[in-house]
């Protein structure tokens, strides 16, 4: 799995950080999401899928490798 953020779409809700704190964080200045780990290990995939699904801006794309 490869995690891609469509950054201009991000609305800084931070829902991804709640769902998968190991993979996402937010910038201090504007809250825009940051991908900490673009290729998370399998044990984190469920949380990442949850994050992509609940993102209110549909800004998280998951590419299968």
């Amino acid at each position: 799995m490869r995690v891609v953020l469509d950054e201009p779409k991000c609305v800084a809700s931070g829902q991804c950080v709640v769902a998968a704190p190991e993979v996402f964080d937010q910038r201090d200045e504007d809250g825009v999401a940051v991908v900490l780990d673009e290729t998370p290990e399998a044990s984190l995939h469920a949380g990442v899928r949850e994050a992509a699904a609940i993102c209110p801006a549909a800004a998280i794309l998951l590419e299968q490798q």
């Binding site: 800084a12 809700s13 931070g14 699904a53 609940i54 209110p56």
Partner: protein, 393 residues
Amino acid sequence: MRPIVVVGASAAGLAAVETLRREGYDKAITLIGEERHIPYDRPPLSKQILAGEWEPERLTLRDPAHLGSLDVDLRLGVTATGVDLAGRRVHLAGGATVPYDGLIVATGVRPRRLPGQGAHVLRTLDDALALRDRLGPGRRLAVVGAGFLGAEAAAVARGLGAEVTLLEPAPVPLAHAVGEDVGRVLSQAHRDHGVDLRTGVAVAALGDGGVRLADGELVEADEVLVAVGCVPNTDWLEGSGLNVLDGVLCDEFSAAAPNVYAAGDVARWHNPLFGVPMRIEHRTNAAEQGMAAARNLLHPEARKPFAPVPYFWSDQYDLRIQAYGYLRGHDEVAVVDGDLGERRFLVAYRTGDRVVGALAVGMPPKALRPWRQAVAAGARWDETVVSAHRAAT
């Protein structure tokens, strides 16, 4: 073999369908949507779309290839007109019926309208494009209703150079939603940006060159936007046996009847985290509840209560407003960080003895996150807010 039928092809319906597939459901799914567009995102309608910053394609929630991979019988431009719970069938306009094994209702809401002709509403992509085409420098826009939608539209219209009058029946906009103090701060932002905000006014009629107020005055405008809230799309469920007094009434699992669930703006469910029934018209709830409804429908032996901390955001001018929790009907608001006058603050909301919500403007995201945790944990007000004050001083 009957399919699972999802009625409503917006955020909640799409989330439900994706969850069914993600959870391994490999039988037939039918997704019925009244609009002709493939599922798209609504929050940008009153922001980037109205401002002309984004083209409509940018709203698409999932690209066509991904939608195709879901292997769903997608029926767009199709209106559901009724449901037969005993026969497990959805009736469609034109007379066709679709049998179902399980049903998820995600038909959303529609704008409340006012008597009179020619006014805009802002709910669909077509609504937003129609209004966008009519705004520009020197155009006069009257917005009826200074809730979040009306406020966002007013802000965007000012950015486009339009002259904006914002009409609000309440003395303080958004007071019922976020409290009077925060409502006043947000009101001042409109005035600072040149909006003619008029509170405590009653609208009598629309049309004839603007908005006629109850006292007889005519607020002249080239365009009128009515943003006075929404009503759930439950007409098609009248007489079905479902309780649709204000949304589809659901239990804590988002179930409305055996094998029938509701999700998103249309669902009124009992949120056990707050102990009250609620109907939430926010984007994140649509996705979360769509997922929860799908899981509970699919795993009846392992259903989980749907107990989220609601979240919403709003962009107005350079202000980003973010809130967690259930603020409605709160007993007290306290500033726990920052300063209201500087429009950089974090306030907490109390209902009974609990922290039920927090709202931030212009604060770093990490400041708000612990408050979400406090709401999720049902934290006591006296302990949480007192310790926050101690940390701040």
